[in-house]
Subunit: 240 residues, 2 copies
Amino acid sequence: MSNMESKFIVTTLTDQVEAKIIEYIKENKLVPGDSLPNEKEFVEMFSVGRNVVREAMSRLRMLGILESRTKRGIIVKEPPLLNGFRKVLDPQLLSVPTIKELMGMRIAMEVGIAEFLFTNVTEKDIEDLEQIISRQQAIGINNLSIEDEMQFHKRIYEVAGNKFILNFYELMQPVFVFAKHNYESYFEPINKKLQESDELVTHSDLLQAIKDNDKNLYQEKIRKHLRPYWEFLYNFNNKK
Amino acid sequence: MSNMESKFIVTTLTDQVEAKIIEYIKENKLVPGDSLPNEKEFVEMFSVGRNVVREAMSRLRMLGILESRTKRGIIVKEPPLLNGFRKVLDPQLLSVPTIKELMGMRIAMEVGIAEFLFTNVTEKDIEDLEQIISRQQAIGINNLSIEDEMQFHKRIYEVAGNKFILNFYELMQPVFVFAKHNYESYFEPINKKLQESDELVTHSDLLQAIKDNDKNLYQEKIRKHLRPYWEFLYNFNNKK
DNA sequence: TTTGTTATATTTGTAGGACAAAAGGGATTT
DNA sequence: AAATCCCTTTTGTCCTACAAATATAACAAA
């Protein structure tokens, strides 16, 4: 079975059993709600110790693929998509290049959801967004508190109506908050330069594009709005 | 958010220890490369059995947050972002509404990466895309083989230059392949309707927009190109 | 017969011991 | 000083044991 019988054991038994359990689910076409064999049966099926089976199932349980209750056995679940992603998205664990890619992802998402935003937006949504903007308090040049900054964008995602994208955005927030906290001194000069060249885009500008029902303009503006983060990360990366 | 609010929310010791180990990493500001206490020390630190500590660490090892080698102990790693995501992205485990949200994500991404696509694209990239299109063989109305369909889009992502987004797309592929396989009969009528209304967009149309350096047109066209999938899922959802 | 209660057996969660394999560190030899 | 060998530590795996939960069977009551 394991043709890599060398000093470098890259796959542990747990890794293998984890894969085998997933394989079992696929082969037997189990869908959410169906029940799996219990631990003992897997132990016999794979000829491994109970610990190995338990570790493998523990992983799948964490991801939300499995759920087990004492005596009732183990059932397959529809997993929350971002369970594992959440735990990995710790700014402390990620390098700047990785954070830069995440920022690129965010820009792409916010530009892209304009497609949904403009078909879904209602008068009430626009009022909400106006309210949010009116409560914002600028600190320096286009520099809002984390909460204010988040609130507006989150509302945009909500209007767009894709829960997965919204969850995704919320998970990525800590990373951006971290970046903003740690490198705030970088943003001010970038913002200043943008302001001088008349390229600075505020939330009001974004809302105006929504009111005008000008999707292309909105996409252009959201890109520019997020540009300071992007530019900072780009510079940081090059310097390093 | 992702917690299914069942009557009995059971947090096992393993869940708690998993959280505590992450907490330990944060509190001690451990970064990739730093080493953790060994199993025994965690056992004493948290007053639990070794199995519990091992299960918790096994999870973190799977996500790529930890790496352990015999005797050298355990070190913190920069985790691959999509390790956990990959395992839950099994079309067999996901419901149609979830797949629909993923499709929305894809549309947003492909519209959004136009921002990067148009700044990065070179003459050679355009030649490549032309080559890819020339090798494609249509089956029915704008219906390509999975491989042909994938190849073009993958190349677009590559040109855009964000590895995370590319990985993300590649992970989602099986889901879309599954949808296409299972519901192929739905696509033909949708495509036919689009063709009659002159709204059908082929890869050639997309490439033309790139050649013309018309970003807004490209974004409009990529949305329409992906629309059959979207529409199918929308209909399917409503019917169900 | 049906319903309600109790007892039994099964299954997961947790603890802890044992041993093999790997690898760092130190002692020994050349 | 360099190479070699031995000891010890640490992870990976197996095993036994027991507590808690609960499905199932057995039994009692209506």
